[in-house]
Every structure is written in structure tokens, then in C-alpha cells.
Symmetry: C2
Subunit: 207 residues, 2 copies
């Protein structure tokens, strides 16, 4: 089976899941941490070389404060859990902002944890405008995420078929697979189906 | 029904269609012109404000010469047909190249044809690297397509769920709808289904 080298993860649907379960929207994020760890371990076992997780974005921070606090806390917890595994871990996002969690500043330089191994990029307070250096219609001079390579497969949970600002340059040739289930309803079968689908796609890189 | 203001069109599958019909791959493109005109007229009737067509890309020009000539000819014919309708028409792409068709140079400045009306952007010898001004890891200073606004809905024919380099910045929040049929098998029902699906999506612009 042809496996993707680099998988992007858009873990959407935490709030809709919480509402369905009779909880407050903000309560959904806490239920997104253990799916992330299960996904990470599954991809490690399969030998996936690199993963990029869409933590939270600058756009997301305009939500009510209880939600902002909840998804920030969940991202901090996820990065800290990953740092106790074997991984080469990097957090990327706009650190020049009061909403960037101080606990994650040490992770904005790549470090090997445990035995190192899979590269993990975790986007925190990310925005495509920040990434492109967009200001008054001018972009550049570099991508802020230039050390993140092309993404082969993006898996998005929660039924939406869109990128929502996720790494526009690294996604130009990505195959996008949409899982209808919400992220906290993560199942290994979602990933197995995504990988089987990816294996059936051709690779043309636009050619 | 909530209609998209700006629709992006990725008319993929011309070569697979030709092979299925027992033709040479290059023969498929000629069969993609009349679907485009039917789609344009359909969107005009519905009052869609703007459409962007993925003509051909710099990546595509690496294909065998018979194919390159065939898709270039089809794009020239499509732009010339559109210029006989009511439209505000602009061709965008890398004109500093021998493969950019000279016949289309006059269209690289926006003109109103007929009564004007729907804005049409037609990408010819386009590449995302050209658009971003990417050279040796440096981008900018501006998007070459900066006058093309955000795209609400992208409809891609031919079954692939990817952007293939299509306007990465204008696509950051786009909903992507995939039609399994090949582009020369265009049916109005494809667009009706895409618009009904789009109407059922929420608009968050990443928020």
C-alpha cells in the first residue's frame, strides 16, 4: 500500500459533538485529546514520517472566551502529552499575541523527545495571513512555515470539505479526505478508510 | 437558496474521458469547450457574480506536446467564445513564457464584452509559484492574482478531491465539491447538486 509521507489533520466537530452530547460547546475540546494520541500512535506504528495537526487558529480566537480557554488548554495538554512520547516536535503559530499560550513557547523550536522519530508539527494560533506575512496586500518575504514540507493527505473530521486556512502552500497538491463523524468520535476505521482511499488516488503533483 | 458569489471551476477528466471513448488523450480537450459555455450560461441565468476557470497550468505544460497544443487551443477557443457573450473577462497567468498563447495576450487586461456583467477569470499558464512570486524560498511582494477575490465554492469534475495548485490564497475558505463524472460529461444536474450542497454548508470563514 502506498502510504502518505506527511498527513495533515483537521480535527473538526468538537463543539457539535458537545452539543449532541448535551454539554456546553466548550466542553468538546477536552474530548479531542485522547483521539489525537490514539491517531499519533496508530500513525507511528504504520511508519508515517510526518504529521501536522491543526490546533487552533487566529480566526478561532474570536470565539467566546470559554471556548477559547478550552481549546487553548486542550492544545497545551496535547503538546505536553506528545512530548512524553517519541517525537520530533515543533509548535508553529503567531507567538506575538497575548492569546499564544506561554506554556508552548519552549516548543516553538524543534526538539526531539524520547527517541525522536516521527516529525510532528502542531499549529497553535496559526493563520494563513501570518504564514504568508500578509500586510496591506504585501506578502513575504518568506513563509513562516517554510520548514514544513508538502502535505500528501489531509484528513478532516466533522464533514466539512474545506481547508479553513490550513497551510495553503503546503496543501496545494494534497488529497483531502473528509470524515463525516465528529473528531471526538474518532475511530481507527476512519484512518484506515482514508489511507485505502489515498492509495487509490494517482499522484500527479499538478502535472 | 444561499448562492455562492464566486465559483471556481476545475474541469478535470478530459483525458480519461477521451481514453474511455477510444480516442487519443489529446482529443478530450476539444470536448470540454461546450460544457464550459453551458456552465457559463447557467450561472449567468442564476445571477452568479463571478467565476474563475482553471484553464491550464505551468505544471500541465510538461505533458506531451500533442496534449499541450490541444489544451492550449481549447483555452483560446473558450476565451474567444466567452468574449462574444456578456462578460467582464480577464485572463491571468505567466505571460513571460513561450507557451503562453499570443492570441490571449489582449485579454490579460480586464475588458467588458457585450453588456459586461458576470466577472470571469480564466487561468492560462497559471502556477501557484508564479502567483506567490516564489523564487529561492522568497515570496512576494504581491499576489499576482490579487484582484481575484475569495472563492466561495469550488466545483471539481473528474473525481479528485484536491486543488492541484488552484489559487491557494483565494481558496483558503472555499467549500470543495467533487463531481465524479469527467468534465466532458458535464450535466446541469452536477451544478444543481453542488449548489444544493453548498446551501447546506455553514459559512464560518475559519471562525
Amino acid at each position: 500500500m502506498r502510504l502518505p509521507k506527511h498527513i495533515g489533520i483537521i480535527p473538526d466537530g468538537n463543539r457539535r459533538w458537545a452539543v449532541r452530547e448535551g454539554m456546553e460547546k466548550a466542553d468538546g475540546y477536552d474530548h479531542g485529546i485522547s483521539p489525537g494520541m490514539e491517531l499519533y500512535r496508530m500513525c507511528c506504528e504504520m511508519g508515517i514520517e510526518e504529521m501536522t495537526f491543526y490546533g487552533f487558529t487566529v480566526d478561532n480566537t474570536k470565539r467566546p472566551s470559554a471556548q477559547r480557554q478550552a481549546f487553548t488548554k486542550a492544545c497545551v495538554a496535547a503538546v505536553e502529552e506528545l512530548s512524553r512520547e517519541d517525537a520530533s516536535l515543533l509548535v508553529l503559530g503567531n507567538t506575538n499575541s497575548a492569546v499564544f499560550p506561554a506554556e508552548l513557547l519552549p516548543y516553538t523550536i524543534r526538539h526531539d523527545f524520547g527517541k525522536g522519530g516521527m516529525k510532528i508539527n502542531f499549529l497553535v494560533n496559526y493563520s494563513w495571513q501570518w504564514d504568508l506575512g500578509l500586510k496591506n496586500g504585501i506578502i513575504g518575504p518568506c513563509l513562516k512555515t517554510k520548514e514544513v514540507p508538502r502535505i500528501d493527505l489531509i484528513i478532516r473530521w466533522g464533514g466539512r470539505s474545506r481547508l479553513s486556512g490550513f497551510l495553503p502552500v503546503q496543501s496545494v497538491y494534497s488529497d483531502l479526505y473528509v470524515v463525516e463523524d465528529y473528531w471526538p468520535d474518532f475511530k481507527r476505521e476512519h484512518v484506515e478508510a482514508a489511507l485505502a482511499w489515498y492509495d487509490a488516488q494517482d499522484v500527479t503533483l499538478g502535472g
